[in-house]
Symmetry: C2
Subunit: 386 residues, 2 copies
């Protein structure tokens, strides 16, 4: 293959592709973060974010990655030695549990086989046994990118029932790609990141906090300054941040949130579901095994096993170097065993079709017997369904 001009497709589960409109917004001159222009900007972003979170709760921003706002949730709402029930279906669930341990919590893990979601009945049964209400906080990953699995957060919240534990949701890669009703589902804390379906570069963590969670923050005394949610809430009274916020990213966030409003949340969720269906149909048509079970397959990312005898990293290498399509690999135990296609945020059917087309050629180049066009056809048929 000769070295030829190719366009780049960032098909990883975050950071994701950033729209031109957002890039342009971020090139505006930097403004005073204590001035009136910034106050208008932060107010607008905060109000628009509430729509995306589907909440009337406070929404606060941290200048951080997703992991930062996950730590902020623990630091503010989990007391030392408290019992925490961590529902984990992969690497990011494990990470949140580990953060809680670092803050001295007594973490009990409920895990699943890879590719499966948490069974709400298991949660219900565990909480039913907790008659003394020792469990103070439940942690759950909404969308687990490492396993390409989405947990049914609504059902898990229902399984909690009248148990008083806080339900804290890591929706870093879920928010904006799939349904998340913070208020209707009675979620106490929800955290999200900017570099996923919010369509801007990494650097902003977002957190929605219920009244019940705020009350918990009043009696939780972990050392913190940067992650202090109450000081962030206080600064919001003046539409400011306690310390220097990433001004240019906020210009980008405002523009991205306008784009989300224009397309509409309902349409965005349908788009993500259809993109997932296209990729899964293509993988099946090409005889490839999927990581996640159908019933809990993520709308934001799809993990795929390479054909027998082919290294996943070789597939990724050819895709990236020959065809300009960057996919992710497996994490931890899955390293080298799968590749993952991110399809969240500023991702269109054209990006998915390019990925499938190039994947077919890559598999042929690796000596596999693949019917060229078969994956594309399956994806086309899926896309054209009403």
């Amino acid at each position: 293959m000769f070295i030829v001009l190719k366009k780049q497709f960032l098909m990883i589960p975050g950071p994701t592709m950033v729209p031109e409109r957002v890039i342009q917004a971020m090139t505006r001159p930097v403004i005073n973060h204590r001035g009136v222009l910034f106050e208008g900007l932060l107010k607008d972003c905060t109000q628009r974010l509430k729509t995306v979170f589907q909440t009337n709760n406070d929404v606060i921003l941290f200048p951080s990655s997703g992991t930062g706002v996950m730590e902020a949730a623990i630091a503010n709402f989990v007391g030392k030695n408290e019992k925490v029930l961590a529902l984990t279906v992969g690497v990011f669930g494990e990470r949140w549990a580990e953060i809680a341990r670092r803050y001295g919590a007594d973490v009990e893990v409920v895990a699943t086989e890879v590719g499966y979601a948490i069974d709400p009945k298991v949660v219900e049964a565990r909480l039913a046994k907790d008659t003394n209400h020792e469990i103070k906080v439940i942690l759950v990953t909404h969308n687990e990118t490492s396993a390409s699995v989405t947990n049914d957060v609504q059902a898990i919240s229902a399984a909690r029932g009248s148990h008083p534990a806080l339900l804290m949701v890591d929706s870093v890669s879920g928010l904006g790609a799939m349904e998340l009703k913070t208020d209707d589902w009675n979620l106490d804390v929800v955290v999200a990141g900017s570099q996923k379906s919010l369509m801007i570069p990494p650097g902003i963590g977002v957190m929605a906090v219920s009244a019940k969670a705020w009350a918990k923050a009043d009696v939780t005394d972990n050392p913190k300054f940067y992650w202090d949610a109450k000081s962030a809430r206080k600064a919001l009274e003046k539409w400011q941040n306690p310390y220097t916020p990433p001004v240019s990213l906020l210009f980008g966030l405002q523009e991205a949130l306008k784009m989300i409003e224009e397309e509409g949340l309902a349409t965005i969720f349908v788009r993500h579901r259809k993109l997932r269906n296209c990729i899964r149909a293509a993988a099946k048509a090409l005889g490839l095994k999927l990581l996640a079970q159908d019933y809990c397959a993520s709308n934001a990312v799809t993990g795929i096993y390479p054909p027998e005898g082919v290294e996943a990293k070789k597939v990724q290498k050819i895709m990236r170097e020959t065809y300009g399509v960057t996919m992710a690999g497996g994490q931890k135990a899955l390293e080298g065993k799968i590749f993952r296609i991110g399809h969240m945020g500023y991702c269109a059917i054209s990006d998915v079709m390019v990925t499938i087309t190039m994947l077919e050629m890559t598999l042929v180049e690796l000596g596999m017997k693949v019917e060229l066009g078969a994956g594309v056809r399956a994806a086309q048929q899926e896309w054209m369904k009403a």
Copy 2:
């Protein structure tokens, strides 16, 4: 089909898609067009353009579209009442002939059936009869976008032999997409535009002028100021333009010429040929009739007849509105009868694959019996050829 985020693909035969690097270069602050920075910019662009033209002749720039520099060629090198032989295979060949008529030339047209190139033997025979050397100028379109046809300019130059007529070539849509050896092929005047394979927006016309053509300019006295090539050549001694040049476009041109150098002309020509082969193979696999004959099919644009009973404009409309792929229609006699896919300049195999994928879905939506994926497969097989 629900209204969903889609990305835009400008698949017309110019203006073409502009690379991000070029867009960014054009956002630099405007500079003084009589200052030292501009002189360096124009010198660099001019020298890089000579490489693309494969010439040691003078290369001059006009702030104009392609039509502007076509007129400049007539105004400078064609005298009133002179006999001009216009070799036309489509709309832009006819346009150049018409410009010559407006300047009072006695134009004799050699035309072809649509989809066919000029036969160099016909040119040779006509010139052989011109024993008194009445024909002073030969006009030929290198790449005729309206017919998706490329003329064999090298063979036409050879057919001219020792006849003293100037050979003037409209390579507005050819330069940078396909081989053009200005010096080796003994071309007296070559004109090109910025909005095609030079990968920048419309606004710069380029002209390469041989010593023989300059001598002709000395005895040609059409009224002209803006199009005065000799004044442009004189201004070039100070690396300036006689009047205000489009500074920002020149920033973009410089960046685009760097990209051309990086990919290399030879690779670029192979890319364009392969993109053409992919599209033609796909069209044939889908049972669609091609406008241009195989032997002269353009590497820059491909005209395609819609299936029997389907309006070309309906195909274009669905492609554009549902799938974000903008194609061109037919011109003049071909209006409404064909659609044309531009694949020159900043066009990658991913763009072509998206176009084919979306075209298949469009044809199905129009009720055609199309095997989904068949066009893509044909294009994949073509692309993977050594």
